[in-house]
């Protein structure tokens, strides 16, 4: 059931609109226990900050804020939903699948849930960076947390 819905272009479009207009986890916190990455992509004006709290190999919280296009905002919002509460290994698998999807390689849609809405972004090469801006930020913070561990 869930999968068939996520094949319907109208539903996927609605999902992007919804995450853009009402992004989830869209407020930064002033808390030293969070890592923070500022992402400003090089050729457009997307400018977002992603925060995460990663402890004992678990992503306890992810938040973001900033000015960005629909694809950047929605893909980052979806990412926060998907990775929050996940163990780092699980998160890495999801992230790997997401980047495969964006690169038009094989991926497991079941792992990506709503984020499959971004499956056609690879057709607009100039928007790939929009669809990956928040995902790169969390990947960076996971890498950092693993270095510290």
């Amino acid at each position: 059931m869930a999968n068939s819905l996520l094949n319907d272009p109208d539903i996927l479009r609605e999902l992007i609109m919804d995450h853009y207009q009402y992004p989830h986890n869209h407020k930064l916190v002033d808390d030293d226990s969070y890592a923070s990455v500022h992402m400003a992509s090089d050729s457009c004006i997307d400018d977002i900050t992603v925060q995460s709290k990663i402890r004992n190999g678990v992503i306890e919280d992810i938040r973001f804020d900033g000015v960005a296009c629909t694809i950047s905002t929605a893909s980052t919002s979806m990412m926060t939903d998907l990775l929050k509460g996940k163990k780092v290994e699980e998160a890495n698998e999801i992230i790997g699948n997401y980047f495969n999807m964006i690169d038009a390689k094989e991926y497991d849609p079941d792992l990506l849930e709503e984020a499959v809405a971004m499956k056609n972004v690879y057709k607009q090469a100039n928007r790939i960076k929009c669809a990956t801006i928040g995902w790169k930020a969390i990947r960076e913070m996971i890498d950092e947390s693993e270095k510290d561990a």
Binding site: P9, R13, C44, Q124, R127
Partner: protein, 405 residues
């Protein structure tokens, strides 16, 4: 009689991209066959370096390369030796800022506007920092126009350099450079003009403007990339220090590090220049003059008025520069991020630019740091505008996301 249909036949891209509507002329322009041929001739018949060879094709090459100075001198009404070829308008403005460094001292002021492109801000920011000088901005109206009165108020004895675009790159504000130059000169300040968005579109006469320096780029006037034109009054270029030291620009040097530079303009052209680009730029300038800069200007104004009239009827758009009678239209679709809207237009084969267009402090004037810029040139048509307006009327959050499905 301005025959746009015939003009379009000069541009091979229109037959190769029959559905393309190219409204991104502020970024770069399309190339006519005569420019492509001039560049290709260099590769096919007279490839050689300049000012270095003693053989026939090298001599032909020298003649074409140096002859291009005459073409540009005619275009902007100066002497051929007042034209130096650099790599783009950015390089021209950096050279001017570098060359004027000795004229700017601690506490002096460089006067700019907030509507300038990064290339007419950052070279001056750096100079100001190095010299402990100050940057000040001339006040503009809401559509980035500078009035003579406003300029007069901004001008004072500490101002050593005034550097302004003749036509601004986002809003197309046409600044009264001749009056500005006269006022600035009465205080002994140098006047630098960024002509990137003016020289391709209108008759620009440096004597009428009275400016000391002017920079512009060939690629924005149907020419090749990688060629900038730096005009400077002969008496100023004569002693100006070049940014780059190297081949061709020196007359002789010795092991005791004494260097004698060649005279301007060659002293600003160190290393092998973009020879085919310069020759192609000359072909572009001749092409524009054969159509007539006044004719081009009049046609673009007519097009822009038609465009504005149609576009301003759309409820889903906000236009930022309706009162400017010239240059690009800058707008947003309500509640749609500029890049998303540009993506929708792209799905209809329409090329525009979205974002801040390198004018990253313009938001202090217009209150938004992202717009869609639709910029026209003389090969655009009312039919294209009609198609554009139809597509623009369809822009919504839903349609902009719809392109991904």
């Amino acid at each position: 009689m301005f025959d746009v249909k015939k003009i379009r036949e000069d541009f091979p891209i229109f037959s190769n991209q029959p559905d393309l509507i190219y409204f991104d002329n502020g970024a770069t322009t399309l190339k006519p066959k005569c420019v492509i041929d001039a560049v290709s001739d260099f590769y096919c018949t007279h490839t050689s370096n300049v000012h270095r060879g003693d053989y026939a094709i090298a001599a032909q090459n020298d003649r074409l390369y140096d002859g291009t100075r005459k073409i540009f001198a005619k275009l902007i009404n100066c002497e051929p030796d007042e034209i130096a070829f650099v790599h783009n308008v950015t390089a021209a403005l950096n050279q001017i800022a570098y060359g004027l460094a000795d004229e700017v001292n601690e506490g002096d002021v460089i006067l700019l506007s907030k509507a300038e492109h990064a290339s007419n801000l950052l070279p001056w920011f750096r100079l100001a920092k190095q010299k402990n000088a100050k940057i000040e901005y001339v006040e503009t109206d809401a559509q980035a126009n500078i009035s003579v009165d406003s300029f007069r108020r901004a001008m004072h004895g500490k101002v050593k350099v005034v550097s302004l675009a003749q036509v601004t790159n986002v809003l197309g504000s046409v600044q009264p450079i001749a009056e500005i130059a006269e006022i600035a000169h009465s205080y002994g300040a140098y006047v630098v003009v960024d002509g990137a968005q003016s020289v391709p579109h209108m008759k620009v006469d440096v004597k009428e403007l009275g400016c000391d320096f002017l920079g512009f780029s060939a690629h924005k006037m149907c020419g090749p990339d990688g060629v900038g034109i730096l005009y400077g009054k002969r008496e100023l270029l004569k002693d100006m220090a070049p940014v780059f030291m190297g081949g061709d620009m020196n007359a002789r040097f010795s092991s005791d590090t004494n260097v004698l530079l060649k005279d301007a303009p060659v002293r600003f052209e160190s290393g092998t220049p973009n020879i085919e680009g310069v020759i192609g730029a000359g072909a572009a300038a001749e092409y524009l003059m054969s159509i007539g800069l006044d004719e081009i200007h009049a046609y673009e104004k007519e097009l822009r008025a038609y465009f504005l009239e149609k576009l301003s009827q759309l409820d889903n758009l906000e236009i930022y520069n309706p009162d400017n009678e010239y240059g690009p239209l800058a707008f947003n679709a309500k509640a749609v991020f500029a890049q998303d809207a540009a993506g929708y237009l792209a799905s209809k084969d329409i090329a525009v630019r979205s974002g801040n267009h390198c004018a990253k402090i313009l938001h202090e004037i217009i209150g938004t740091d992202q717009t869609i810029r639709a910029s026209l040139y003389f090969y655009n048509t009312k039919e294209e505008i009609d198609r554009f307006v139809q597509a623009a009327s369809e822009i919504s959050l839903e349609s902009a996301i719809g392109i991904f499905f």
